[in-house]
Symmetry: C2
Subunit: 261 residues, 2 copies
């Protein structure tokens, strides 16, 4: 299940109920600590960030024993979160799982509870950068070859997609963002707006609107989402806006909205 970006104002009621009704709550230590105010009777199993696979395996084993387990992801469990790994392991173990309420025999019921994804939280804080077609790309090369990531960035830039970058930097990956910038500059102008949001709706929130040319000047870490505009995206005061095309179509103004920024 998904916590969304911030707690408790940005978590959906369905997720709150799941946490409340759980017998066991499992997750990465940092997120579990955020839940402290909500915890009462539940057993809590906090683990380190590297322990994703064993955490999911234990959650599945406990669910097979009949326990009500809430496995938490921040943001949305379905976007680079835990939902896929759980289902991968279930499939590899040939378990019979189904969403509740199901018909027929199952090993356990599994509900994926969505949350506000980091890309939507970041977009809301930036204004409206995702109003047109976009591509979401993770820069983590732990599980994906760097060549694949580069190819996707090139194709997304060619298609004039707005580009959302997840996992833009880690302790070991400090050279990538420079490479990404150079690569995107082949297709996108140096003044293309770039939004940088760290710790959206949480303590330490930071919102920066920069440009493709200059965005490397700003601090970025694993809790940052970066949104690179398309050819129409403009900066407007504290906002970053990708027009959908209504104004051009309905000719409400003599000036193009892109010119306003």
């Amino acid at each position: 299940m998904s916590l969304g970006p911030g707690f408790p104002d940005y978590i959906i009621p369905r997720a709150q109920n799941v946490l409340y009704e759980a017998q066991v709550i499992m997750g990465y230590r940092t997120y579990i600590e955020l839940l402290e105010p909500l915890l009462a009777h539940q057993e809590v199993v906090a683990s380190s960030m590297k322990a994703e696979v064993s955490r999911c395996q234990e959650a599945i084993a406990r669910a097979q024993e009949g326990q009500r387990v809430a496995l938490v992801s921040s943001g949305d469990a379905g976007i680079y979160g835990m939902a896929g790994l759980v289902l991968e392991i279930c499939a590899a173990q040939n378990l019979r799982v189904a969403p509740p309420p199901g018909e027929g025999e199952v090993d356990f019921y599994l509900e994926v509870v969505p949350g506000i994804p980091a890309l939507a939280a970041g977009a809301a804080l930036l204004g409206a950068p995702l109003m047109h077609d976009f591509a979401s790309i993770s820069l983590s090369d732990l599980l994906t070859p760097w060549e694949t990531i580069v190819q996707r960035l090139e194709l997304a830039a060619q298609g004039d997609f707005v580009i959302v970058l997840y996992n833009p930097k880690s302790k070991k990956r400090h050279w990538q963002l420079g490479a990404v910038r150079d690569l995107l500059l082949h297709c996108k102008g140096p003044q293309t707006p770039v939004g940088i949001v760290s710790r959206a709706m949480r303590q330490g929130q930071e919102i920066i609107i920069s440009t493709l040319e200059d965005f490397l000047e700003h601090p970025v870490d694993m809790q940052t989402v970066i949104i690179v505009g398309n050819s129409q995206t403009f900066a407007y005061g504290p906002y970053m806006v990708t027009p959908r095309g209504y104004l051009a179509k309905y000719r409400l103004t003599e000036e193009s909205p892109a010119a306003a920024g």
Copy 2:
């Protein structure tokens, strides 16, 4: 502000507060009707689907007069929703707007309240199709030339992105999905899983997992989101799963997860 996919279990507390504190609630009639149980003192201005521009203009005019206006979008206002149009109009009118609490003089404060986007709601109901890089593409050619849409579909397919299709069909656009299928079949296999979710978390919800070859057999409308898998995506019982690569990396199983489907 954003209603999310379903009401009231999938709307965030921040959005509920905004609705509660509003003096005026404006939006498309169908969504406003869903809010009935929550309405009390607020003035309600419901309008037709075609009236987006005039609805935003009226919301802005009322905000300039000092009214607390909640302009509602279903799903997430920041993904093909109303947030961008409001900011486009404000920019064209040279208004000074800023997120609350702001410093300096403004014409009014503007907060974009996120919601669970249709793509995240659909993904949760399908299992975990968005666990790897994806592209979101709207098939509506009202504001975007069809050639641009086709080019984006081709590039996304070349990059082996999972592809989310918004606005897959309208009364006037019945021929497009067939063209999209044929085009995607150039890069993706006929057995590629395709998830079809209509009215996620609302009355009349439908969830179908089909294949690229066969998905045209199933009903689709403007309240449908379609998710086309990447080359690794597999169907697993009632779920559609795009692996992130953990199991391949950690070699937890002799069998590839893709073979399980």
